[in-house]
Symmetry: C2
Subunit: 397 residues, 2 copies
């Protein structure tokens, strides 16, 4: 199955998921325009919809049918997009999938509320499952969802902790533990377990699938980290080297720091400890909620006017521009040249190749785990799971 077949399978699942989401999200309600329509904003943008596809493929590969799994699969997409909305607010991100983020369009209050409402709405189809697939399966799915949410918020907490505390004494095992919680559970383990539960798979089969999903998730995240440093902006759809600007603890960066000489390591840690500069000044449209972007644009204008009428010198304007770009008093921000230097360090240490090798090893272990699943008969759905292993480590976005 070439990559295009994987993409075709994903595309079909995505269509089905969007149709199902339309039945979960209330329509024709008085709250439609300010609440329910906004829930479809992210899902309707270009996306892989990997989670529902994994859920559907696992279920069908184990003999389950589409009708009984689709509602749970769509619920995973609802959860995922709710968390994306919250992530974007947390990170102050301006773009998501090549368009403005929800809070950039409608303000943070409406965006956070839409995310909360999506999390709330996701409970109902999981309760409807009681009638659709029976009490026992529905309850086990709810248990998986609770565990998924717990694991991923714990993974997130660990990463935020490292960033806050400037922690860099991290080995690959620390990274893998964090990614297992943050990526494997959320994107691979929970979708596959839910698909398998719907299909009525026995306990030991769930254990095998869980192992496959954990390994694949780690390979997936490592490739994500690689793409962040080598991808092209337009193709990948995210900011290049954003992980370096944000000081994310990736396998690549921890390897580079671990293997660099003491001097370079010290320089790198000093750079990484600095905050990233504020986003570029907006054109005045700004976000409706947060006034600070608008204030920056206005400040730039007033400085120009003050200089024109002699109330501010050239040097004064530069000093103001510097400090406004400086985050906090006395604290420098990362510069483009420093990020370039970090990138060159990463390349000199061979850290990207190292990460690719580690990722390939996890992918190979995942492949072997799936090969051992003799109880899963050949099918286009099993093919998808198998070919996803290659797709995950060779994908370019």
């Amino acid at each position: 199955m070439p990559a295009s077949d994987v993409e075709e399978y994903l595309r079909e699942c995505r269509e089905l998921t969007l149709h199902e989401l339309a039945t979960i999200i209330p329509a024709g309600d008085r709250c439609r325009e300010v609440l329910y329509d906004l829930m479809l904003e992210y899902p309707l943008r270009e996306a892989k919809a990997l989670r529902p596809a994994l859920c559907v493929a696992t279920c069908r590969a184990l003999g389950g049918n589409l009708e009984s799994v689709l509602r749970s699969a769509a619920t995973l997409e609802l959860y995922h997009n709710a968390f994306l909305i919250h992530d974007d607010v947390e990170d102050g991100s301006e773009h998501r999938r090549d368009r403005p983020t929800l809070h950039a369009m409608h303000g943070a209050p409406i965006a956070v509320n839409v995310g909360d409402a999506m999390l709330a709405l996701a409970l109902q189809p999981l309760l409807d499952n009681m009638r659709l697939i029976g009490m026992g399966k529905a309850l086990r799915i709810l248990d998986v969802i609770a565990r998924m949410a717990r694991e991923s918020t714990e993974g997130q907490a660990i990463e935020l902790h490292w960033i806050r505390d400037g922690e860099w004494r991290l080995g690959d095992a620390d990274y893998v533990r964090m990614v297992y919680k943050k990526t494997s559970w959320y994107t691979f383990i929970a979708p596959m377990l839910i698909g398998a539960i719907v299909a009525g798979a026995a306990h030991e089969r769930l254990t095998a699938l869980r192992k496959f999903a954990a390994l694949l998730g780690i390979a997936f995240q490592i490739q994500d980290d690689v793409l962040n440093l080598v991808g092209e902006g337009g193709k990948y759809g995210k900011e290049i080297a954003g992980d370096l600007w944000e000081g994310k603890r990736t396998l690549i960066l921890t390897h580079a720091l671990r293997t660099a000489c003491a001097d370079e390591r010290g320089s790198a840690e000093r750079i990484l400890a600095k905050p990233r500069p504020p986003k570029a000044l907006p054109d005045g449209e700004g976000s409706p909620a947060g006034g600070s972007d608008g204030a920056l644009a206005a400040l730039r204008e007033v400085c120009r006017a003050l200089k024109a009428r002699g109330d501010l010198t050239e040097a004064g304007e530069r000093a103001i521009a510097d400090v406004v770009g400086a985050g906090a008093p006395g604290q420098n921000v990362k510069t483009g040249a420093e990020i370039e230097w970090l990138l060159s360090l990463v390349r000199r240490q061979g850290s990207i190749d190292y990460a690719r090798e580690v990722g390939a090893r996890y992918a190979a272990r995942a492949r072997r785990a799936l090969e051992g699943a003799h109880w899963m008969p050949p099918s286009v759905h099993r093919d998808l799971l198998e070919n996803l292993v290659d797709f995950v480590v060779t994908r370019e976005r």
Copy 2:
């Protein structure tokens, strides 16, 4: 039962709730410091814990026992505090219960993640209910939770819509509909329904309790709005006239606009359409996540230095201070004098007294609804529900 008895009952329930929360929130985990400890930050601050008390009182008044309801009651407090954390991030609030908000202490990313993790954690005790109180009751409670979350996010969406669109053509019925969703469902209906379900109450009793809770919730919110305009800062613990600064659609303000002459109404709408000024410049500590507060403090310092060495005139400094305080270019912000004028308009129109009367009418209807509940035998728990009616409309915080 004097107010002090109501407060004593609330206090006891709060103690029990905190103990129960400690068993729901994992301890001794590696994520404790960055995740689980932070979940108790708000609950441990001074709070009424009204929701668990309503849940416990309803259950026990109907013959249910404490052991079977306490876990559900504590879960309500977990949900409530998760939403408070998210609300504070949405609103950029600096203080909650007389102390810094969670995001002011740890940054928005950690705060939003803690809120999400609390919402995730809240699912588990509701699933544990299956074993504790049986499948049927546990499922009905999950249905109530799903409905509660949906109603309150809808209420929130309606209010945010009004504010975004500058909508002021609102009658009391619009306000009541919004508050029924936002306050009644969340704070009164869901806690009481859950308590009654645990006690095994029959359908028609649930209907009667729901009516009582809906009416009491509306009375509660009206008193909340009144306190916002007449309370003392320290006692009430929230900013005085914050609703006017934020342009909230209260019964009081919509009455004042509806009854004012066209000129005054126009002036009031023009003031209310303006954004509130940014929060006061911080002392430099700032929030660790958002750099913009720190940037403002740094800007103030650099302007002082530039002025000292002649790079900036006095008029230039004032112009910069104006624009930085001005939110967005060309947009005025509300001033203290304008808020004073709005307050005087509200008083001239007798809108606070009007709201008090309407609130008292809802409270009286709630009291009559409870009086009709002959199937609820006299007990200290029924007393709590009855006396809560007076407490709700006479409370001063």
